[in-house]
Symmetry: D2
Subunit: 315 residues, 4 copies
């Protein structure tokens, strides 16, 4: 992650602000406000603004005149109750805004979460930064053999070396040709005084999908948790999980009580189907149960046994 001197100064200036407000504040989140928290090799997450805290969830659930809070234990009980029973609207009453720098192929996954507001850096209007994502060797995974949508073992030796070289040289070459087509380097120098540059909105098509882009992304607390539930999960692609993990930390700083309930009821919880419930009931009673008479598919059976630590029953 490279920030220019000017950018560093702009961030510092914002961080030195001391405004007085009647609004609620989240003290832990204030500490990292505007900070560029590094993600992957050139990306970052910055919390730009927020609205509300844990008491705001309580306040709107009660449609109250004053602060939502009665006392921490009561608030915590109510927040857990809301989370458990999917009373989701009070969680929509808090809002957060991030500035994110991320590779384009990850941006394409991210944008599928529609209930959010987005302003992306425009490559029709401006020249994209000369930065592209190259995985660290421990993330250079082979195609999974049993999950068409996942990763398997880590590549090593010649194959790993070859992959990294290809990614690097192709990104550099396509970026360099992007500059050639624009007739302008990243630093702003005209390459050929007599030539005309291709329109930016066209030249960008030559860039590879690991090129970094950036955007402002704003969402409410409920939809942030929906995002994190999917993207901080072990089935998510590592590269987006890296962002989600940093955002989990900002969630904790912002709304610590909601964060705890989120860990218990969403992240660490599991869903059990009707058929799955019969299986579990029989297990509790010590009755005979196996894949064949369960009505589950093999995959479902294994997922269920895994969720309840019945390792010996996984087939």
């Amino acid at each position: 992650m490279k920030l220019t001197k000017e950018q560093i100064k702009e961030i510092k200036d914002l961080q030195s602000e001391e405004n007085v407000t009647k609004r609620v504040i989240a003290p832990e989140l204030e500490k990292v406000l505007y900070e560029a928290i590094p993600v992957l090799d050139h990306g970052f997450i910055r919390v730009i603004d927020y609205m509300g805290d844990d008491t705001s969830v309580v306040q709107s659930a009660r449609v109250s005149y004053g602060k939502g809070t009665k006392q921490v234990s009561t608030d915590s009980g109510l927040i857990k109750y809301l989370m458990r029973h999917w009373h989701s609207t009070p969680f929509e009453m808090c809002e957060i805004k991030y500035h994110v720098k991320l590779p384009i192929f990850i941006a394409r996954q991210w944008i599928r979460h529609r209930t959010a507001n987005v302003n992306e850096y425009s490559a029709r209007y401006s020249i994209l930064d000369k930065e592209f994502y190259l995985p660290q060797s421990q993330h250079l995974a082979a195609q999974s053999l049993n999950n068409r949508q996942g990763r398997g073992s880590i590549l090593t030796g010649e194959k790993a070396k070859q992959v990294l070289e290809l990614l690097k040289s192709d990104a550099e070459q396509t970026y360099s040709n992007y500059e050639k087509m624009l007739n302008q380097t990243y630093e702003g120098n005209i390459i050929d005084e007599k030539a005309t540059g291709l329109a930016r909105e066209l030249a960008r098509m030559n860039l590879t999908l690991n090129t970094y882009t950036q955007w402002y992304w704003k969402t409410d607390l409920l939809n942030l948790m929906n995002f994190l539930r999917l993207r901080a999960d072990q089935h998510a692609q590592y590269e987006i999980r890296a962002y989600a993990d940093v955002m989990m930390d900002t969630l904790k700083k912002w709304v610590p009580i909601t964060y705890e309930a989120f860990l218990d009821y969403r992240v660490g919880g599991t869903e059990v189907s009707k058929k799955g419930k019969s299986v579990i009931k029989k297990l509790i009673k010590g009755e005979e149960i196996n894949l064949e008479n369960s009505g589950l598919s093999k995959r479902e059976w294994n997922e269920l046994m895994d969720a309840f630590d019945q390792k010996d029953k996984i087939i």
Copy 2:
């Protein structure tokens, strides 16, 4: 609008908060934060929280590292440009939250604006306030004769008196029977020690549509303006316009530059169809034009003439 002593104290407590934040603040809006601004006979609007200001629009439009602003004149020019060209996403980057008390028949109009977050006071869970809307005599309008969806002249004399009496007595009687069915008065007294009360979720069905309800309502700046454009308009029903007018004032205090652009390009502006454009072009050239050769319907023609002050051409 009646607030209990406890409610007044809760509001005062919130207003005496002096929290220090690195976030941007809207000084004029801070002054009225939490205040219950009266609307109609028993309703109110309270601004509970907000996120961002005019510079936030600019900041996200530029996807900038620092404050959005360069200088006020540049910012203002950019905001006007965004508004004029319907570049709407930067306006989604500011958020505001209101606490509103309003009659149920108005709540039903209001809720049709879907891009907002809402928590309504639950009449399944609690007893509704003993307050209902009665129009002031100058708002007691007859059905319009030429617009099936509008109001005509003001009712006077016996008819006005009769209407007000009916509204008042029916609301009082149905509320009193609501209490009877609940077997509990508004003040909480049990009416008949030996009887059981009807479930709240059922008893509420006896209330009239002018009974007041309340909710927390949160939306972004773009959708707030979409709401205000429709509801602060002269074609809106007076009762919802009364709320929209107060909200227009909070908009001005919050984002004064955006407010100016909104007045110029949305509230005070007009749309002209393709056929309408031909008519205007001919008017400018001083050519002969009339309803028959315009291709417009009579209603369209009149709307166009009215928009451009051609009163003498209205038919």
Copy 3:
């Protein structure tokens, strides 16, 4: 439910249509298309239009060129997989449109589902039907003693009689005064030739919340299931559940494979929190576990024991 002769004829005309299309059709749903299926005392549900069937879910999940289907067993497996893993976007690819007649207090619950399209009968423009909901005696429930948001035992005797009489007489009286204020009866007769009627948009405020309204409501298959999951649930208010139950039946006729998966994974399934999982694991292992050392609240404990049929452990 009263339909006029003209309405019955209009429905019959639509049902006699035999149009030829290249689109997929849902044969069982076609059989009930346009039919007014009665709900409560005067309400109904009508399926007006639909788009897609089970194969459309499969087709879009595969982004295929032809029909989604390979063979029923494969399709069914894929649909179950999508449902289990919350791959929700393919379910958004089917759409359904209903015409619903329902009491206003139920319409107010219903409208909180925002991801839907709605056109409601306008009481600014037209006069509302002279019909209001009166519960059958078996649905006349007392306020629940342990759940502030629920129903308890059924009212009987004098109290039941009193409630029904109050509901009926108040609805009739307020409607009759609505007509008086409009200076026009429901049948269209002018009441007083010399008087002017109150604007419709105002007169409606005198009606009680059990008055029937109607709307066109359109949503996609995913959001229909989100609606049904909440509203066909035993915790939903009976009156909206009556509608949801009828819609469950239309779901079955429309997309039978998706319906089965929905019953297994959503309706009949349950969620278990992280703490709840530890409890279940201990139960399976036959280890000692009780409320105190579970980390659960009493309510959570009971909900968990109930979900897994441990009736003797409910406290």
Copy 4:
């Protein structure tokens, strides 16, 4: 656009379906259903399904029991009225679903329209087609000199030749290295029997942004028009306009009356600000008016003069 024999057969099979339905049909749209209409060099648009027609707009605006229609002229008048007054909900009552093949950099613009349902071909799961967009020479435009977000003159000669060669060779090389990293060719042949392939979700990052992707995209009639209004506009990037133009044609076949109103009130219409209205009023009256006393910016002035054919007043 290359379709395999199998794909062509699948499409033909769908087109030979003759299902009988009670639903309304759009005869002109039926004729092109499922057809792959070519766009750009390798892209296409296919209409996969639809729900409703012009009468459905009318039907839901009236919340009617039967067909919406009374007679064509009445329907047309109502649709125009709804369009003119932004009564938008009835237009949400029709739905359409497309299958689209398009370059990734265009997909990224397209996806910003959030009110739609999308299923994209997964490059985590499958290998992307070996097809990438290369502009025809007449679309190879230079960066605009006065609009940072637009195109200027067409490139010719050596520069044009160079650009096309770079785009072609970079796309081919990065795709070929994509295959190398996957250790599998597009045709499915393993390249090196002893080597392991990189995970698909990683290998894709080496592709350039002009690689084609495909998706199912479904939206309602209102949001389709919102999309077309922006993307069929002359300010839209040519490559997305090419898709929008084809979709305009499908709109015409689907809902011809709505299409006409859309052309008149949206596509061919214009908006005039409050200040702009004063200018037009003075022009009509023949009063002196110029940029300086208009209160408009130069850019606004010129846009206004252009909209009303006052070419001689453009500065």
